[in-house]
Symmetry: C3
């Protein structure tokens, strides 16, 4: 398989990718900013190499506590890169992170006064998220989104869709939902409601757990 | 053992819990929002199953850098859920996280001017912590605490007490204490003063380290 | 080898350090606030003990997302303490964390308008970073730096230099550089440009990954 790319970090990444997934990087060439790589699938011994890493599992476990656009983007870039390496990824959305999973349109559900107020004050879905810094009353997120688009980088919404296509599991913390008065119907379809015990069980078969 | 619960995430969590702790979930039933589970202690083979997970240890290591109420709650929920699974948990409080461990009342200790100033400006103990967002000059924390109380969820102070009862180790970063001018007498009794090397040693026998 | 120290957390740390690195703590004594320790290099069996920890590796992987002074200090303290234990450490600077690696002086590179604007609005290098809280329009960082100096604690700049001397690898996220319009020439010399796949490959041979 031959690949060409204009990203200067690509050869390093491809080498890492091959080392961890049991493929063989045959040759790497960098001419005038264009890298060419040749990769043989499998490790030549007729079977995938056992991945390096911790013995208990190579899954990835990502706790998304933050509801900031920049942190959500970081979380999904890591999740999608892990899935591309063939790893099982579980994301556990808790506290403000639940806002990332909210459907953009209002869903009619019965709520008490405080839950309604929370629902109004917090961003409804990924498109409404602010930045952790340089938010500038909403100009920052628009600017970052426009720059990412110009650089042909997926939007957060495309990243979420890709994650779901690639089998990344999206879990919502049931206790946070209870506290913030968010109902299952208000979250993206297919999101599972789980508790901390499930997140911890996922952590125990993962070699990386992040709190974002 | 038979358990009933009204939390929709409960069966998923119970299944995860049993899988990781060597107990057997015999049956799970969900009727009209009430889940009934039957669990056999031990794995039926007369001994607890070896826990899945990384080879080096199933301890949990939590670095609490933040002094925000919401992040402290998240940290203690994870710590207590880990302890409930029979895992050893160490929490390392550093920088602003030290404020979580401060005694609520003023303790008379000799301090230089800057340390006194720091001591006054930073929240004295868990009850004074603010939120990482929607703090609204202190209304946010009051609101969250009141909602949690109405939902029968433990307060942060109850979570801390529970953690200590269950053997969660609370460590304070000695260097941060030195920089912020916080003395041992000002922290909750029984908190150990340690450095980064001890935190790292704990990390090396843990399958999950979080920076919160 | 005999060591004396005035830090009350030192015996605990030395014990942890010896346990994880295969050295033997022979005796520890604490008199009037001065601790004396005697350590035998190696474990007496003529070879270093296999380190406890996860099977897949004892490397440390630190993702620096934040561009706050306090979080950068925490990241480098952990990195340097890990390196002192003989562990390989990789730091992956992404998003605002890239600012930590910027050269303090302006570097002449061709940039589009938005990249120039980003470059001006974000702190240029470690000396310009603000605090995550109590920043007080730049007074906070000055205060913390002055306190650290008085307590004989290394400055962030000294910590970065020490990390490089001790072989800590500093990686910059190529995608973040692209989005923020930061060029390789603007980062400290020797920093590598890599992508998320390389960070993940490092995570898979580490027993601790942190998102800071």
């Amino acid at each position: 398989m031959q690949i060409t790319a204009s990203d200067p970090a690509f050869p390093e990444d491809a080498e890492s990718f091959c080392r961890q997934t049991g493929n063989v990087l045959l040759a790497s060439d960098d001419k005038a900013g264009i890298c060419t790589l040749r990769i043989r699938k499998g490790n030549g011994a007729g079977q995938a190499a056992a991945p390096c890493g911790t013995a208990g599992g190579t899954n990835k476990n990502i706790i998304v506590f933050s509801g900031d656009l920049d942190k959500a983007i970081a979380a999904f870039i890591i999740a999608n890169a892990s899935a591309a390496m063939g790893r099982k990824v579980t994301m556990f959305f808790t506290f403000w992170g639940l806002n990332v999973l909210r459907k953009p349109n209002k869903v009619r559900v019965a709520k008490d006064f405080i839950s309604k107020m929370f629902g109004k004050m917090m961003p409804r879905g990924s498109e409404k998220l602010g930045l952790s810094r340089m938010n500038m009353f909403g100009m920052g997120p628009k600017l970052i989104r426009s720059v990412m688009k110009n650089k042909n980088i997926d939007s957060l919404e495309q990243m979420i869709a890709l994650a779901r296509q690639n089998g990344v599991e999206l879990d919502a913390c049931s206790m946070s939902m209870d506290v913030m008065g968010i109902k299952k119907e208000e979250l993206l379809d297919g999101v599972k409601m789980v508790g901390a015990a499930t997140m911890l069980a996922n952590a125990e078969v993962s070699d990386m757990s992040l709190f974002i």
